[in-house]
């Protein structure tokens, strides 16, 4: 974990930004809750536990900054709230998501899966792909089991 903080610190310094205590606290929360897809408000509340004096605006500004530096990805599942997701170390692509329409759970898929499709897009549409967002909506394994039991 310290290693990753260090890396981020360097990334910030490279653009002459500072890793202030508030920013570090925010990054730590993101690291601890890497599997989740926290909203700005979620992050704020969690950071507040360790650094009660932090303001919501700072969290927004920090998340915006991290987003610009491609350290986190800003995603939107259509519920009107932005969520922030730490990029996997060394990942060139954004990972995909499985959103369950029954229980709202979000699963991550790290595998690329889109290599062939991207090649097609480049070749057939002449569109130079830089990044992508792929989300599947459906019913997760758990809810399928539930359904089978209840029915």
């Amino acid at each position: 974990m310290e290693h990753r903080i260090d890396r981020i610190k360097k990334q910030l310094h490279a653009q002459s930004y500072k890793l202030t205590p508030q920013r570090e606290a925010t990054v730590r929360v993101l690291l601890e809750r890497e599997e989740d897809h926290l909203s700005a408000e979620d992050v704020y509340l969690l950071v507040k536990e360790k650094a009660p004096e932090i303001g919501l605006a700072t969290v927004y500004r920090t998340l915006e900054l991290l987003s610009e530096l491609k350290i986190v990805d800003k995603i939107n599942f259509g519920d009107g709230v932005s969520r922030y997701d730490l990029r996997k170390e060394g990942a060139t692509h954004f990972h995909h998501h499985l959103v369950c329409t029954e229980c709202g759970s979000v699963e991550e898929i790290v595998e690329d899966l889109l290599e062939d499709v991207e090649k097609l897009i480049q070749d057939d549409w002449g569109f130079k792909v830089k990044d992508h967002r792929l989300t599947f909506h459906g019913i997760c394994r758990q809810c399928q089991i539930q359904e089978a039991v209840t029915t």
Copy 2:
């Protein structure tokens, strides 16, 4: 076009909703601008041209309704505005988008492309896919040409 209006009328009636003049005007705008990705405000302004008395709230309510009935898809390209896109007739899947980060243009891809990937998701993750959202971010053909010229 009248044919499609009729179909939508039936879909509404089937759920005991009415195709009021306001709703019809809204649907007509969506049909006329099928290639675009209009925001609620865009739709509102266009509808207002033919039916000046309409209110923005009604447009929102209509779009919400059409969205629930799966007649339109609500999408979000991350700019904080919802956009509304008519489903292609008989389409079971949402189509994909190529968003150019240079000029902001949005191209549509009707081809499925994800059959194999969806099969994998079902088989390997046990997730029953109902729908998907796929957006590529990158540089469109036009902007690539521009770049080549300017450089």
